[in-house]
């Protein structure tokens, strides 16, 4: 079974520029998550989709971050404009079924963003 795919793996941008990340979840997984992992910290959920609907975006900085999941499969996360504090690894994860408490999440390799 193919895992969660993410691209690009690395990105370096100047502050105030925009950037987009792409995620392709495991086939058939209805729930998709975007996490931000700052160096030395655990991942923090930014947004959670159930199919193509948003379930939780309470920690998404909506003035600069946006995400979509068209057709309930692939997802993109965008930052515009980027700030220095956005430097982090952005992880995409997916899980089967609904937002069940029992299902483990499967993570992609992440995109390491550096904002200069």
């Amino acid at each position: 079974e193919a895992g969660v795919a993410q691209s690009p793996r690395y990105k370096i941008i100047e502050k105030r520029q925009s950037v987009a990340f792409w995620c392709n979840p495991i086939s058939g997984h209805a729930t998709l998550y975007w996490y931000q992992q700052i160096l030395g910290q655990g991942p923090k959920l930014l947004i959670q989709f159930q199919n193509n609907g948003v379930v939780d975006d309470s920690q998404l900085p909506k003035d600069r971050f946006s995400a979509e999941r068209l057709k309930g499969v692939d997802s993109t996360l965008k930052i515009q404009p980027a700030k220095l504090e956005d430097s982090a690894v952005y992880l995409c994860a997916s899980s089967a079924g609904d937002t069940s408490f029992y299902n483990e999440q499967f993570f992609g390799p992440g995109t390491r963003l550096t904002v200069l």
Partner: protein, 113 residues
């Protein structure tokens, strides 16, 4: 609010010795607990989970975890450490109605030959 604490930034152990990585949690309601491992430049990999039932949970790569409700702990253990177990380990708890994961800050495990 749900939270997870991993009190040790780093754990050092000699190969062949038993290892323990500590985790304590704070939740309202029943706890749903997970352990993940992260190798350099790779995403998190699921190790094991506690949902209900037996307090000793067995997972991947010979790891197990002991759920202790009275001490609100979920420590990760392995009877005999391998050098290849060296990695960053995260404890997490499921939170709220949406099931999002709240992660601890991580513990680096260093296994020396």
């Amino acid at each position: 609010a749900q939270s997870v604490a991993q009190p040790e930034d780093q754990v050092n152990v000699a190969e062949g010795n038993p290892l323990t990585v500590k985790c304590t949690y704070s939740v309202s309601g029943n706890p749903y607990l997970f352990w993940y491992v992260q190798y350099p430049n790779r995403g998190l990999q699921f190790l094991l989970k506690y949902i209900t039932g037996d307090n000793l949970v067995k997972g991947s790569y010979g790891f197990e975890a002991e759920f202790n409700k009275s001490q609100t702990s979920f420590h990760l253990k392995k009877p005999s450490a391998l050098v290849s177990d060296s990695a960053l380990y995260f404890c997490a708890v499921r939170s709220g109605n949406t099931g999002k994961l709240i992660f601890g800050q991580g513990t680096t495990l260093q296994v020396k030959p």
